[in-house]
Symmetry: C2
DNA sequence: CACGAAAGTTTTATGGACTAAAACTTTTGA
DNA sequence: TCAAAAGTTTTAGTCCATAAAACTTTCGTG
């Protein structure tokens, strides 16, 4: 924006610069091994200034994660546009896209930092950013369900928003479990999520 | 065990002593305000020795949490013995007991420390202890479902173990959300969990 | 354009979690 | 009784995070 004063422009560009440098560092040295001091030195600023822009080291990480969101959202939209045949497949694909996207971006260990910080700092910037992110995904799930309703594969009477929230949450806790355990692979979780949905179908269709 | 040598007995009693002292400190001063140094000083040992017994400050906290488990399990068993009328009520009660028990024991802020550490340290002692804890609860949920099947309220054909895992997980993520947000109260979550189950019933009964 | 206020940055100092290594003490078993 | 094993303490250090004071840059206004 040309309307910004010098101060504002400097602030924005410095923020970008910190993010770029942090990203490079995280990728080459890993999250835990890179220190705030390193990032500050690379950026020719003091460590305290980094804290001026980001709440915490994990906050810096989240800012990077949310950058990758646009891509994830596009992938999910593409999947929805492909009109999955049934709800189980749709939710399973949703989860799979999320997991694969996550793994293409960060290691499980680094994701654990993100998730753990997202719980611990519910009130901070970090927490809020993360919640927004989830809300976007819930919205997508909702859009998907509405499509199913339009195709008459789900009754109109069902509360789409409530269902979206619930199915997203179910998918999300399986994502947590995926991230928490290094020995659990994508297919493992896929099977489990499908089994979840089949079990629910089995109880509630009675 | 009388068969233990002096060394082993000392080790066990010192561990107990640290736990007791930590519990007292956490209760009077709160989790974040108490330092490992304080606990060590109270116990007349060095801070490093505390780390010799527990992986981390959060690990100390978890050891305390798991002490309270026996009570929780008894409450859940009592609820199951009361033969709830339907699955929705049963799962909702399950969640409610968990939340109330949690709140009677620690503040949300302290629970956030527990949960965030449980994700971050999936491999450590901490993570394993926490997983075991969840498994016990899943087993209880399973027992409850088996009862429902015996009472012919759920078809025999349903995979009880899978369903238990799924319903527990759903309940659990709502617990996470309860803990993550100071402004969300027990009833709030109760409504949401019921709505989840009703939505699922609505889709899958078609 | 000059000057004071506002915003932003750096320096300095501090606290606390956690780790590693070396020195020391106690227990144990032969 | 004595040496090895186990456990503890001291010491020293790294890093995250925060606070306060001093300093520099930008901005709006007369």
């Amino acid at each position: 924006m040309a309307s910004m004063g010098l101060r504002e422009r400097q602030k924005a560009s410095r923020r970008e610069r910190i993010l770029e440098i942090a990203k490079a560092r995280f990728q080459t040295d890993g999250y835990t091994a890179t220190t705030i001091e390193m990032i500050a030195k690379d950026a020719d600023i003091s460590a305290v200034t980094v804290y001026n822009y980001f709440d915490s080291k994990a906050g810096l990480l989240l800012a990077l994660v949310s950058e990758s969101d646009q891509l994830l959202i596009r992938q999910l939209k593409a999947m929805i546009a492909r009109k999955p045949k049934n709800l189980v497949d749709a939710v399973a694909s949703f989860g799979q896209i999320l997991r694969r996207h996550a793994m293409s971006y960060l290691t499980k260990s680094t994701w654990r930092e993100v998730l753990s910080a997202s719980i611990n700092e519910g009130s901070s910037d970090f927490g809020r950013t993360y919640l927004e992110l989830d809300n976007v995904l819930i919205e997508l799930m909702h859009a998907m369900i509405v499509e199913f309703q339009q195709r008459k594969l789900i009754p109109e009477a069902v509360d789409g928003a409530a269902l979206a929230d619930c199915l997203f949450s179910l998918q999300n806790i399986r994502f947590f479990q995926f991230i928490a355990d290094d020995n659990r692979d994508d297919e493992d979780i896929d099977r489990r999520l499908r089994r979840d949905l089949e079990s629910l179908k089995a109880v509630f269709s009675a």
